[in-house]
């Protein structure tokens, strides 16, 4: 039965139910117990693992601040019979453990001629909005989507957060799991029982005939707000949420673009070599005949994320920018 819970609790419930189902599922990271010396009663930096140690004392571990070692340990544990979920905390810390993801996790299976199995998940917070500055606000999924061997999940709501996490844990390939920090306390209907959201299947968030809007993460909600505003002007957007960047549900995007003839891609990440430019390029290559207007990208700037709230907010695409881009595609001027 579904009830309304937060994105954060949806992720915790997925971890809880999977550890309960399968004793080889283990969870570790900095403060995942919340202070080993405190018997699990104190600490816990962010929440998705809060309380899990008391329930699963043999499956939850605290790590030193040592990302290369514990992400690499996830690779080795996965290759030797466990299903680890390692918590990187902020995706920005990818920099200190990238070799383990880029050269080890992603490539073990291929390099061993298909013999290795690496069923691991790396959880990480991402995204602009929390006033954390340039080293705690990035959206690095383009780097990871680029790497064959990895899967990349980017849930935008509590239902997908739980279903994608359960899928990620049960998946036999390494999965990078992006948790938007500004969505942790967003609410949504989530079934109590375990379920999976399959990778590579986009969600049709809203149907419409005039313009396809593809958005990920927090931008799905921005795209919805824009679509609601535009509907008042008689412009009907079709909003798609790919949910996973790798694999990418190209077919659903193409099907929508063939229907609407227009595409706006919304991503808070910087524009160069990003998910937005990737989707734009794929559509330009494969659906050119269907396009009635140039593809538009609405993204963050090619700049690090600034600290000052005034400056940071300028980095985040808002409903107005998305709506403008759609109006531009359909050839309508903004109403006065």
């Amino acid at each position: 039965m579904a009830r309304t819970i937060t994105y954060l609790l949806a992720i915790r419930e997925a971890l809880d139910q999977e550890m309960s189902r399968d004793p080889t599922v283990v969870v570790f990271g900095e403060d995942n117990i919340g202070g080993t010396g405190c018997d699990g009663k104190l600490g816990n930096a962010w929440g998705p693992t809060q309380g899990l140690f008391e329930k699963f004392p043999k499956q939850v571990f605290d790590t030193p601040i040592t990302e290369a070692a514990f992400v690499g340990a996830a690779v080795g544990a996965a290759a030797s019979g466990l299903r680890p979920v390692a918590d990187l905390l902020f995706i920005d810390f990818l920099g200190v453990c990238f070799d383990q993801i880029l050269n080890q996790a992603a490539k073990l299976r291929y390099m061993s001629g298909g013999k290795a199995k690496v069923p691991m998940v790396v959880r990480a917070m991402w995204g602009v909005g929390l006033r954390r500055g340039a080293q705690h606000s990035q959206a690095l999924y383009p780097l990871l989507t680029h790497i064959p061997g990895l899967k990349v999940a980017i849930p935008s709501n509590p239902y997908d957060a739980k279903g994608l996490m359960i899928q990620a844990i049960r998946d036999d390939d390494p999965v990078m799991f992006f948790e938007h920090k500004m969505l942790y306390f967003s609410q949504g209907d989530v079934p109590e029982e375990p379920y999976t959201v399959p990778f590579g299947t986009a969600a049709l968030v809203r149907s419409g005939r005039d313009c396809t809007v593809v958005a990920v993460g927090r931008m799905v909600h921005v795209a919805q707000q824009a679509a609601t505003a535009l509907a008042g002007e008689g412009i009907e957007c079709e909003v798609l949420d790919p949910r996973t960047a790798s694999p990418l549900d190209q077919e659903s995007i193409y099907r929508s673009v063939r229907k609407t003839g227009r595409l706006v891609v919304v991503d808070e990440a910087p524009p160069r070599c990003g998910l937005a430019s990737d989707i734009a390029a794929l559509v330009a290559q494969d659906c050119f005949e269907s396009l009635r207007a140039p593809v538009a990208m609405v993204t963050g700037p090619h700049a690090p994320t600034p600290f000052s709230p005034v400056l940071e907010d300028l980095c985040v695409p808002g409903p107005d920018r998305v709506a403008d881009a759609v109006r531009d595609r359909v050839g309508v001027k903004q109403p006065a």
């Binding site: 004793p23 080889t24 283990v26 043999k58 499956q59 571990f61 790590t63 030193p64 040592t66 290369a68 070692a69 514990f70 992400v71 690499g72 340990a73 996830a74 690779v75 080795g76 544990a77 996965a78 290759a79 030797s80 019979g81 466990l82 680890p84 070799d99 383990q100 050269n103 080890q104 490539k107 073990l108 299976r109 291929y110 390099m111 061993s112 001629g113 298909g114 013999k115 290795a116 199995k117 064959p148 061997g149 899967k151 998946d171 036999d172 390939d173 590579g200 694999p247």
Partner: protein, 330 residues
């Protein structure tokens, strides 16, 4: 670590197997050196010749369900861990039927079926994985042990230091083996280790660390037995530093070893050859007979000959395999 105390503990079978591993590896590497010079082998090949006593002495304590994470110089580890020699040769030639289907090559040679998690193209790249193996053994309640091997160069990587700490904090059944063969590529370990044994770092992480003569099989075997026994019985991780010698350059092809004294390798071969030392010891102590040793020599040469012949005659990989094995499902 004195090696004189232990030879009587070693069975004839164990010694014969150790000698087979060492001799097969030497034949394998010497042959690769020649074949590479003849242009038959693509890519980068790093030879283990001179260091055979380390793989033989450490891995003699491991079973097929124990795990090893190796280095770029991994052929000796693979042979000692039980990888098929013909499969290895096919892999190094990049042919169909290779241990990794021709997708790994010398630098990524692996066989998960025998616990060989792979050579590694990144210095210390495989070391953190061994922490995961140790965690896995602990969580699943097995007595498996993980052994990470790293060169003197890799020992300076942050991932190595981080792994020692994590293994100590989690008290993992892991052994970290440092093979100091004198050079990180071409940089002397006297320079890049600042003249300080890596084993001394163990104390800083609260684990035992010892230095052994890596050319002395008996010394390596004894020290590794202690460390692996400790790991297997829940006593936590250890660091074992083996002072080794490297006969060939960092890699085959262009390394003229101008950074070494002209007579350095010849001297090492004359005075520090691990196979010569092993033979002298087992012969003097009458542990293996000259006939036993000769039979193993013959078998090793025949095994490598057959492997090369098979590799040279083998087909290239099927182009259809290019995209297999990227994912379990996608």
């Amino acid at each position: 670590m004195s090696s004189a105390d232990h030879p009587a503990d070693l069975s004839k079978d164990l010694l014969a197997e150790a000698y087979r591993v060492m001799r097969t590896t030497r034949e394998f590497e010497d042959r690769l050196h020649a074949e590479f010079a003849g242009g038959a082998i693509p890519g980068a090949v790093h030879l283990y010749a001179g260091q055979e006593a380390i793989a033989a002495g450490v891995f003699a304590h491991l079973g097929p369900d124990d795990y090893v994470a190796s280095t770029h110089r991994g052929h000796g580890h693979a042979i000692a861990k039980g990888c098929d020699v013909t499969g290895m040769m096919l892999e190094i030639y990049g042919r169909a039927g290779g241990l990794c289907g021709g997708k790994g090559g010398s630098m990524h040679i692996a066989d998960f079926d025998v616990g060989m998690l792979g050579a590694n193209g990144v210095a210390a790249g495989g070391v953190p994985m061994i922490c995961g193996v140790g965690l896995s053994a602990k969580v699943r309640g097995t007595r498996q042990v993980g052994v990470a091997v790293v060169g003197d160069g890799g020992a300076n990587q942050g991932a190595f230091a981080e792994s020692l700490n994590l293994a100590a904090v989690w008290q993992l059944p892991c052994v970290f083996v440092v093979e100091d063969n004198g050079y990180a590529q071409s940089t002397s370990s006297r320079y890049h280790l600042h003249g300080i044994d890596v084993a001394r770092r163990a104390e800083g992480f609260g684990m035992p660390g010892v230095v052994v003569d890596g050319t002395d099989f008996f010394a390596v075997y004894a020290a590794a037995g202690e460390a692996i026994g400790r790991a297997r019985s829940g006593g936590g991780p250890s660091l074992l530093e083996c002072k080794a010698v490297r006969y060939y350059g960092h890699m085959e092809g262009f390394d003229r070893q101008a950074y070494r004294r002209p007579d350095e390798v010849a001297e090492l071969r004359a005075t520090h050859d691990c196979l010569d030392l092993f033979v002298a010891r087992v012969t003097a102590d009458e542990l293996l007979s000259p006939a036993d040793l000769a039979a193993i020599d013959e078998q090793a040469a025949a095994t490598v000959d057959a492997a090369v012949a098979t590799a040279q005659a083998a087909a290239d990989p099927d182009p259809a395999d290019l995209l297999t094995g990227v994912y379990q499902s996608y």
